[in-house]
């Protein structure tokens, strides 16, 4: 009997478990999944919690419900991955698991302690994140009664999880404060280390235009050095300052600490991964899916979803002793909530930036790309159901390769 060990049961790990459980012979393979948290968090929902559009409890379900039957599920912290010895040490029983193949899906998380002043003064008083369930919930409580003032959204350092969420937050904030009738008392500012609103030029132009139209100021090339709590001011490395009354921060994002403890990561604890095959660059029996790896694409659930098909095929090639045939193209797509019941949709990969057109099918779409529409907004709301019932079980019928059909270059 051989062991496939999957570390992490978030989007990537759950998908890999579901897809591989259907393809591996249960008389030959035992699938073991380890995670430290029994709750599966619907992270795309965190965006809506601060604006009272989603109850925190509706973003949580038990992880076990989404893992395949016959899988051994262990809830435990991981002490270390010992890749040389093909084993993983846990804090709980059985303490040590030896594996034949390992899939790392330990994700990434915010590390506010990386920026001086971010966590030691106004944290959760006038400084909030919305990348954690606790942060999004606390921010929601604050926003309900916030009297107005300078709201600054700051991205501390790239890469961050979901590079589009900061923009969506500002679009929704504009809508939210209009609903509350206090938009004229609120100054909205985006302070970003990027030169433009987004990382890809065509989308940056469209989204930058929308920010301007909504009266949201952009402070570009702003590399955050420290947060001065006494003066409620952000200070950049080139000594520029941005004052705030309410700071919404996207802190530095890092891979899991266990990756650092195991000596498997780069400076931000991301596992060195072949960006096309999704195999570790050091160990041929180690695979990486989702945010945990260093592939130069967005850290987002849609990417983990598109990676899963490639990873599964390459995994099967590898255990049969065949060459790895499948190539991940960096495919990402996402709905961009723009407020007032509308959304954009973008679709891109390592080499092709987001283009206008229709998705997923040419001519009939139905979803328009790089364009604001009500239909996209309904798509985004419907996606929560799709996530739990189709995406996580590995039954969402979208090809992993990005298609140029229906797009206008």
């Amino acid at each position: 009997m051989k062991t496939l060990l999957i570390l992490g049961a978030g989007t990537g790990g759950t998908l890999a478990a579901n897809k591989l459980a259907r393809r591996l012979d249960p008389r030959e393979w035992e699938v073991v999944v380890v995670d430290r948290d029994e709750r599966h968090l619907y992270q795309p929902g965190f965006l809506f919690i601060p604006f009272g559009q989603l109850a925190p409890a509706d973003a949580v379900k038990p992880k076990r419900n989404f893992l395949p039957r016959g899988t051994k599920v262990i809830f435990s912290d991981i002490v270390a991955i010992e890749a040389q010895a093909n084993r993983v040490k846990l804090t709980n029983e059985p303490r040590v698991i030896s594996y034949d193949q390992l899939i790392i899906a330990t994700g990434c998380e915010i590390a506010p302690e990386e920026v001086p002043g971010l966590k030691d003064g106004g944290w959760r008083k006038n400084i909030f994140d919305f990348y954690t369930l606790g942060g999004a919930t606390a921010l929601g409580e604050c926003l309900r009664t916030w009297p107005g003032g300078r709201l600054v959204l700051n991205v501390a350092e790239m890469p961050i999880k979901c590079p589009i969420a900061p923009l969506e937050f500002l679009f929704l904030a504009d809508w939210f404060f209009r609903q509350r009738g206090i938009r004229s008392k609120v100054e909205l500012t985006l302070a970003t280390p990027l030169a433009h609103a987004f990382t890809k030029p065509k989308a940056a132009a469209v989204l930058g235009g929308l920010l301007k139209q909504k009266g949201i100021q952009v402070v570009p090339d702003f590399a955050l050095c420290e947060v001065d709590n006494a003066r409620t001011t952000l200070v950049s490395y080139d000594n520029r300052e941005v004052g705030y009354d309410l700071l919404v921060t996207i802190p530095v994002c890092k891979g899991a600490e266990v990756i650092a403890r195991s000596g498997m990561g780069d400076e931000l604890n991301y596992v060195e991964t072949n960006k096309h095959t999704l195999q570790s660059r050091k160990w041929p029996n180690v695979w990486v899916i989702g945010d945990a790896g260093d592939a130069p694409t967005a850290k987002a659930g849609s990417v983990a979803h598109f990676m899963a098909d490639v990873l599964v095929e390459n995994f099967l090639h590898h255990v049969r002793g065949e060459p790895l045939a499948d190539q991940f193209d960096g495919h990402a797509n996402c709905f961009i909530e723009s407020g007032f019941g509308k959304s954009f949709l973008i679709d891109y990969n390592y080499t092709t930036e987001p283009l206008p057109g229709l998705f997923p099918l040419p001519v009939v779409g139905p979803f328009p790309l790089l364009k604001e529409s009500r239909l996209n907004h309904w798509g985004k709301l419907l996606f929560r159901w799709v996530y739990w019932h189709m995406l996580l079980p590995g039954r969402l019928p979208l090809p992993s390769r990005m298609s140029l059909a229906g797009k206008r270059a």
Binding site: C225, D238, E267
Partner: protein, 105 residues
Amino acid sequence: MATIELAGKQFDVDEDGFIQDTAQWNDDVARAFAEQEGIVELTEEHWKVIRFLRSYYLEFGVAPMIRKLCKETGFQLKYIYQLFPTGPAKGACKLAGLPKPTGCV
């Protein structure tokens, strides 16, 4: 596409002034960019940053993470801003002849 003249030669550049064909780069290009950026003289420390960025880019096809740059050169980010007032991306990468870093996505 815009062009600029640096060290007596024409270069295609993007809207932020980054040269498009990295193979055209040489030390004189770095010096000409330095003058544009208001850097009086390129010291050994400037070159250490430029050479690391270039060798990393030629090997991996992307600019390194800022943290990697700090670790490999031994300079704190604050000091890199003293060397290159417009910062590691807009300043140092431009001098090193890299295309504009996109922030890894």
